[in-house]
Amino acid sequence: MKTFEEKWTAWLDGQLSGRELVEFESSLPDLAAAEAEKRDAQKLGTFLKKELGARALTNEEFFSHQLRERIMRETEDRPPPRSTWWTVPRLVWSGATALALFLVTTFVLMTQHNPGEQSEYLTQILNSKVDPAANPNATVSIFEIKNDNKVTVLWTEGLQSLPSDYAAK
């Protein structure tokens, strides 16, 4: 639904036609006065065009020269766009590759894990490193905690000293 202002402007600029034109003109209380107003507005338009339309740009070439220099200066001042290797697709691929490597490594380590190895190691300490002559009161106990973590506790008591190569083990 057009407002009165929109219809008036369209009528003044000759943009109304057909039924719309007839309806609008019949809605005006004084068509003759409206026509006078229209002529007056058209006169204003002609006047403005005549008086304002001739404004010329003096020194046109200097204008372009100054503009070229300014654009060149601003282009030079602007830091070059940083080329980044980390584009989004590359980030996604890198992430996926890292995850895959992690999973493969974890799988390999888990399959190579030998539960008997730890027992063998502990037995070695008990038999070869606890010398009854040097540690007459030594007692060594092993506790295995039967839970999901399969923790083995080595409890040593009465040792005079730890085997020198213990840390190396």
Binding site: K43, K49, E60, E74
Partner: protein, 203 residues
């Protein structure tokens, strides 16, 4: 809309020039500037009424156009696109200047309340005190009358009356609806008719 293009320049389509600009060809942009510099300057001058300010704002507009030409998709004509930049730059500048000047209000907002949309306008019967106005005086009267309009109303009336742009082109340039353009045009014309009638009736 007329341009300054020479026949040789006219052979090169505007879209080709725009594409070359988008590829970084500053000479192509230079050609576009040559086509539009006078009209852009005149448009801005009629808005701000000062040659140096108009020159600076025209330069700012073209620099802005060069920087953002990569975003021009060709959905509208190039001149509509450049006029949008020109209008944004100029209206922003006018608004900032208005704030710096202490917020002197453009009086179209006040005057509009006094204008009956259906008012009958009768040419002023009072004779002018002088028979003929000097050109500078006429220009001063026009500038003063236009200065009383808000930047948006100025833009609409100048684009319509001077540039002879279509409603939809003005709407695209100002980023508003066609209805808004027509409504602004209505009030801007009424205001100018009221303030300039004694001038254009007697020139």
């Amino acid at each position: 809309m007329q341009t300054e293009a020479t026949p040789a320049q006219a052979d090169v389509s505007e879209l080709d020039l725009v594409k070359r600009c988008q590829a970084g060809d500053s000479e192509a942009f230079d050609q576009l500037v040559t086509r539009y510099r006078t009209r852009v300057f005149a448009m801005i001058y009629n808005m701000v009424h000062n040659e140096q300010d108009a020159w600076d704002l025209a330069q700012d507009s073209f620099v802005k156009a060069w920087k953002s030409i990569g975003r021009f998709r060709g959905k509208s004509s190039f001149y509509t696109w450049i006029y949008r930049i020109v209008m944004n730059v100029t209206i922003d500048w006018l608004r900032k200047r208005q704030i710096k000047a202490g917020g002197a209000e453009f009086d179209d907002a006040i005057q509009l309340k006094e204008i009956d949309p259906a008012s009958k306008t009768v040419p002023k019967a009072d004779p002018l005190p002088h028979q003929r106005m000097e050109q500078t005086e006429i220009r001063a009267r026009i500038d003063k009358a236009i200065a009383q309009l808000s930047p948006e109303h100025r833009a609409v009336v100048l684009m319509k009356e001077i540039e002879e742009m279509q409603y939809h082109e003005i709407a695209e340039s100002l980023g508003c609806s066609i209805g808004t353009v027509m409504s602004r045009l209505f009030y801007a014309r009424k205001k100018l008719q009221n303030t300039l009638r004694d001038v254009y009736e007697n020139v």
